[in-house]
């Protein structure tokens, strides 16, 4: 009887676990509506070489693809735009013409707000406010229309991170990679300016433990004006206005709580537990992490020691 009951319980457990796994898999399963259509583009643009039949010479020709026009299909299909057709943004004529006419390249491409402006689906992303902030930023005021969203947010590969990734270190690495894709790459940097890109290692040489800082905070923590209403502020400041005072981060009211740890702070800040608990699970920031109980206990203990010594000394003097 007992064995039968145990067997029944085990079967139930197996079924529950199996159902949970199936649900998880079902949630993750994606249907790529435009995979077949996009393949027409990616069979050339997804590779370093492409081939075509050259009627003039009457033979199959293999050529190298311009590296700037190669799309990593794995990256694309895991990006935010994974269920887009290439033709959602690029001209339909690309599909029907080969070689592609040069004029097609001159056609303006859609900008982010063409789709995302007034987008109710992602209202919480504040697209319009992002645009307002960006217009005030040094990126926009210095470079005008030359600086497009896509310079940072590559539409073929961009993945939202701060909101969805629980691993802060990965978010930091990803976000800093966006800044460094220009600021550490002269070829991309010179798409909008003529001068040489300053060496970020040298311009940040004043920063103690440089590598450690770069692994644990995003560039935007110091270079962007914080906006309480946005998860990722976009008003990049001129270098003169960048944060340089250590205590801006290394203090109880660390600015990181309003930027890097903003998402976690909403859920975990507590005055009676660990101060700045949001930071705890990921790292330790001198001056920003404080323990309420340890502070109280140490103060009481210190007071008792000093009080004890004082009383002892007074009795010694009296009894002398």
């Amino acid at each position: 009887m007992l064995i039968q009951k145990l067997a029944a319980v085990m079967i139930l457990v197996v079924l529950i676990v199996a159902t949970a796994f199936t649900q998880e898999e079902a949630e993750e399963e994606r249907v790529y509506d435009y995979a077949e259509q996009n393949h027409q583009c990616l069979k050339c643009h997804g590779h370093k070489t492409f081939h075509y039949f050259n009627e003039n010479v009457g033979q199959e020709i293999r050529e190298r693809m311009n590296p700037y026009y190669i799309i990593d299909s794995v990256e694309f299909y895991s990006s935010n735009h994974w269920n887009f057709s290439c033709l959602d943004c690029h001209s339909y004529e690309y599909e029907t013409t080969f070689p592609h006419p040069n004029e097609l390249r001159m056609e303006p491409l859609p900008v982010c707000l063409d789709c995302h402006g007034g987008d109710d689906t992602y209202e919480d992303r504040n697209w319009e406010q992002i645009d307002e902030e960006f217009q005030k930023s040094v990126h926009s005021t210095k470079h005008g229309a030359d600086f497009k969203c896509s310079m940072c947010h590559n539409p073929h590969s961009y993945k939202i991170n701060a909101r969805t990734n629980e691993n802060i270190k990965e978010t930091i690495q990803y976000d800093n990679g966006i800044c460094l894709s220009c600021h550490a790459d002269i070829n991309k940097y010179q798409l909008i300016v003529d001068f040489t890109n300053p060496n970020v290692l040298e311009t940040h040489s004043w920063l103690p433990n440089q590598a450690l800082h770069w692994q644990n905070v995003r560039c935007i923590e110091c270079h962007v004006e914080i906006n309480e209403n946005m998860l990722v502020a976009h008003n990049v400041q001129p270098k003169e206005k960048a944060v340089r005072k250590c205590v801006e981060c290394h203090s109880e009211n660390s600015i990181l709580l309003a930027s890097l740890y903003k998402h976690q702070v909403k859920e975990s800040r507590s005055e009676l537990g660990f101060f700045n608990a949001a930071i705890l699970n990921n790292s330790y920031i001198i001056g920003a992490n404080r323990n309420y109980y340890l502070n109280v206990i140490s103060l009481v203990f210190f007071g008792l020691v000093l009080g004890g010594i004082g009383i002892h000394a007074i009795i010694r003097i009296i009894k002398k």
């Binding site: 103690p208 250590c246 203090s251 699970n281 001198i286 020691v305 000093l306 010594i309 010694r316 009894k319």
Partner: protein
């Protein structure tokens, strides 16, 4: 009756002791400034406090290593040896002296001699400090100087946070020890005689 003077504190020990004292002061002041730094509140500029704390910590490590070696070579380590039998009883006797005997003019139960530099309470506290707290604060200090050597995550909490918690707790313990140590140094023949001994070497 004039007691015979004892040469208890050789030059190496005095140099180490006062170096240690100075480093303790620097580390406590800069450590407090770092832990309670605020946008306006820090009494030492953050980056300066970090630099001084790191330098003092490294010198303290060297000084501690020097102490371990010199303690062994010079034979000073014999003063730290504990005879377990009756140690608790001796501790209580010394404790009773501090909370009662000293007020009524009782003689010291374990006066300093050539063979006994520390009373039982001193011995216990010095053993805990020198062979427990000091290695702990040095190891955790290096954990903070090179954060990459810490465990990434321990039961859902950043490993470095546990390191820092231990560092701060032991640092607090050592700060308390220093204050108590200074007070107990006033128990010599005169209030200042023990301090003088640590300068001259003669007790």
């Amino acid at each position: 009756m004039s007691e015979e003077k004892l040469y208890l504190y050789p030059m190496w020990l005095r140099l180490w002791h006062w170096t240690n004292a100075l480093l303790f002061l620097v580390l406590i002041i800069t450590g407090l400034s770092l832990q309670y730094s605020g946008v306006e509140g820090a009494f030492i500029r953050f980056d300066i406090a970090v630099t001084y704390h790191n330098i003092a910590g490294i010198i303290l490590t060297i000084s501690f290593a020097f102490f371990l070696v010199a303690n062994r070579i010079s034979g000073n380590r014999k003063f730290y040896k504990v005879k377990r039998k009756g140690f608790i009883k001796r501790l209580m006797k010394q404790f009773r002296y501090y909370i009662y005997g000293v007020f009524v003019g009782e003689p010291k139960p374990y006066p300093v001699s050539e063979k006994r530099k520390f009373n039982p309470l001193q011995k216990l506290s010095y053993i805990v400090v020198m062979f427990g707290f000091m290695p702990l604060i040095i190891i955790t200090g290096f954990g903070l100087l090179f954060p990459e050597i810490n465990l990434e995550n321990v039961f859902g909490v950043a490993g470095i946070y546990l390191t820092v918690l231990l560092h701060i707790t032991v640092g607090f313990g050592l700060s308390v020890f220093m204050i108590v140590h200074i007070y107990f140094c006033t128990f010599g023949k005169t209030v200042g005689s023990e301090f003088k001994s640590m300068f001259t070497g003669w007790h």
